[in-house]
Amino acid sequence: MKQLIQLAFAVLGISGVLYLGSFFIEHSQGASGTDTLNIFNWGDYIDPELLEQFEEESGYRVVYETFDSNESMYTKVQQGGTAYDLTIPSEYMIERMIEEDLVLPMDHSKITGLDNIDSEFLDQPFDPDNQYSIPYFWGTLGIVYNDQMVNEEDITSWGDLWNPEFKESILFIDGAREVIGIGLQTQGYSLNSKNDEELNEAFELLRGLAPNAKALVADEIKMYMIQEEAPVAVTFSGEAADMMWENESLHYILPEEGSNLWFDNMVIPKTAQNTEAAYAFINFMLQPEVAAQNADYIGYSTPNKAAMDLLPEETTEDEQFYPSAETVGKLEVYEDLGPEYIEKYNDLFLEFKMLR
C-alpha cells in the first residue's frame, strides 16, 4: 500500500514537472504578456515569422491552431467549447456564420488600413459593407499538371480530366463542392446549383471521372505533386504556387469552362475572449509590408493593393494567379446552399468517393 501511494505521488510529481516544462516553453517564446490571442487558421496559411513579429510588436501571446476545412472549423466554433478570437473562413461559410449569428460585427473605428484593400474585394454579396469580415487572401480552384508527364495542350479544361489516359492518376481536393462543381461547370451549370436535375446530370458525368481519381485528399496534394506521385491534381491556386516553387515542372491553369473564385476573410467568432487582440492582429495583417511578405510566403493572391505594389512584377502579372478581369468574369463565388443541399452535395460526394 505504502509503495503504491509512493508510486502515485511519483507519477503526480512527474506530471507536475511536465506541466512546468510545457508552461515554461509556452512562456519562453515570444512575448511574456499574459494577454493571449487564439487564432484558428488553415494549415500553413501564414508566414510563421509574421506571428513572431506580431507577438513582439503587440505584446500579445499567440496561440495558433489549424483546421483543414471550413466545415471542421465551423463545427469547432459552433460546438461552443472553444475560445478562438480570430478565424479565417471562406465566403460561403462566412455567409452561413453571419446567418447563424456565430460571428461578431466589426467595429470599423478600431480598424486601420482597410483602404489598402482593393475595392474589388470589399462590399461583397456575402458580407455587404464588410460588417463582419476583412479580406485576407483570395484565389481560385484550378488544375496543376507536371509537364514531364503530361502535354501542355492536353490540359486546358475540366473536360480534359476525363481523358482515359489519366486512369487512376488525378489527385482531387477532398471537398464536396469542389468535386461536384467540376461536374456542374463542365455542363455549364452554376456552382451553386440547387436544381436536382442538374445535380444528377453532373453526377452521372462524374461517374465517368471516378476511374481517373487516384485519391481525394487535402494538404497531402502538395507533397505528392512535388514528389511526382501523380501527374495531375485539382487544387487551389495558393497550394499550386507552393508546389511550383518546389518543382519547376509543375504548372497551374484555370480551366476554360470557368472555375471557383473564393475569398478567405478574417472574422471574429462569437466565442472570442479577446477582441482587442483580434483587432490588433487584423490591423497588423492589413499593413502593406506584412501582407506582401505573407503573400510572398503563402503564394495565394493578396487583396491588398498597397501590398501588390511591393511584390515582384512577375508575381502580380502572372495571369494564373492574378487573372484578368475577363477571366474573373467566368469565375463563380460559392454561396451558402442551406442544410438540405449541403447534405445533397455531401451524399453525392460520398458516393463519388466509393466509385471505382
Binding site: 516553453i25 467549447g81 494538404d219
Partner: protein, 279 residues
C-alpha cells in the same frame, strides 16, 4: 518437439518478426538521411534530431501527451481498482455480470463511437474542449481495462484472509489497506501500465474531443503526416521507439524477477499450479 519442424517454425517466426519491424526500422533508418525524403539515402546526418530539439511546439505537445497519459491512467487506476473491489463484493451473480457487461461496452466500442458520443456529451454539457475534455475522455476509456486487470487478482485472492483479519478486529479500512490492496498489487500495476499505453496510443477519441490549441502527439502527427514527409517525424519515431523499448525491457525484467520468486513459491505450495509450465 521434433527438431526438423522446429527450424521451419522458427523461420516463419523470424519472417513475421521482420515483417512487423520493417516499417519501424525504415522510419528510424531514414531519420538519419541527409536528403529530406524517405526515398534515397544520401548521407548520414543528425540535423533532423537537432530540428526536433528546436521544435518547441512538438516538445510541448510531447510533454502534454505524457502528462495526460500519466494523470489519466493514475485516476483511472484509482477509480477502476475501487470499482473492481466493489464488483467483486457484489453478492448477486446477475448484478455482477450486468456491471461487467457495462464495463465491457467501452472496452469493445470502436474508437469512433467513443469519440463521437463523448463529443456529443461535452457539447450538450457546454464543456470547453481542450486539456480537460481530453483528460476526462482518457480516464473514461481507461477505467474498464483497469477493472479487467484487477478483477482476476481479486478472484485469486484468498478470502479467508479477510475473515481472519476481521476476526482479529481489523476494520474495513484496515482490511482494504493491509489485506486486499497488497494481494492485488500486481493487477493494479498492470492496470496502470495498460491504461498508460491506451492513453499514449489513442488517436481517434482525442481527435474528436480536442480543441483550443490542445493537441497530443497522435493528433499532431496526423496533421503533419498530411502536410508531407518531414524527417523530423522520423526522428521523433526513433526516440519514441527507444523509450518503448526501454519500458518493455524494464517490464520484462520485472516480470522475470516476479516469476522467479513465484517459482520458488510454487515449490513450497503444490496447490498453486499456475504457470507451472517450465520451458
Amino acid at each position: 518437439m521434433i527438431k526438423s519442424k522446429f527450424s521451419w517454425a522458427n523461420l516463419y517466426l523470424i519472417f513475421i518478426f521482420v515483417l512487423l519491424y520493417v516499417p519501424i526500422l525504415y522510419l528510424i533508418f531514414y531519420s538519419f538521411n541527409q536528403a529530406g525524403t524517405m526515398n534515397e539515402f544520401t548521407g548520414f546526418t543528425t540535423e533532423h534530431y537537432e530540428a526536433l530539439a528546436g521544435d518547441t511546439r512538438l516538445i510541448r505537445i510531447a510533454l502534454d501527451t505524457f502528462r495526460v497519459a500519466l494523470v489519466s491512467s493514475l485516476l483511472a487506476t484509482v477509480i477502476g481498482t475501487l470499482g473492481a473491489i466493489g464488483i467483486f463484493f457484489v453478492r448477486q451473480r446477475r448484478t455482477q455480470s450486468t456491471i461487467l457487461g457495462l464495463n465491457n461496452v467501452l472496452l469493445v466500442s470502436p474508437d469512433v463511437i467513443i469519440g463521437a458520443s463523448f463529443l456529443l456529451l461535452f457539447t450538450m454539457a457546454g464543456f470547453r474542449l481542450g486539456f480537460y475534455s481530453v483528460l476526462f475522455s482518457h480516464i473514461a476509456f481507461s477505467i474498464p481495462i483497469v477493472v479487467l486487470m484487477v478483477l482476476p487478482k481479486l478472484q485469486e485472492m484468498n478470502t479467508n484472509m479477510i475473515t481472519a483479519a476481521k476476526d482479529l478486529g481489523a476494520n474495513n479500512w484496515q482490511v482494504l489497506k493491509s489485506v486486499i490492496i497488497p494481494s492485488i498489487k500486481p493487477g493494479i500495476l498492470a492496470g496502470y501500465f495498460m491504461a498508460f499505453t491506451y492513453s499514449i496510443d489513442d488517436f481517434a477519441v482525442t481527435f474528436f474531443v480536442t480543441g483550443n490549441g490542445f493537441a497530443t502527439l497522435s493528433v499532431e502527427i496526423y496533421s503533419r503526416a498530411r502536410q508531407g514527409i518531414s524527417l523530423e517525424i522520423n526522428a521523433l519515431s526513433t526516440i519514441l521507439f527507444i523509450v518503448a523499448l526501454g519500458l518493455v525491457s524494464g517490464y520484462y525484467f520485472v516480470q522475470q524477477q516476479q516469476r522467479n520468486r513465484k517459482r520458488k513459491l510454487t515449490d513450497v505450495d503444490p496447490t498453486n499450479h499456475q504457470k507451472a509450465v517450465t520451458p
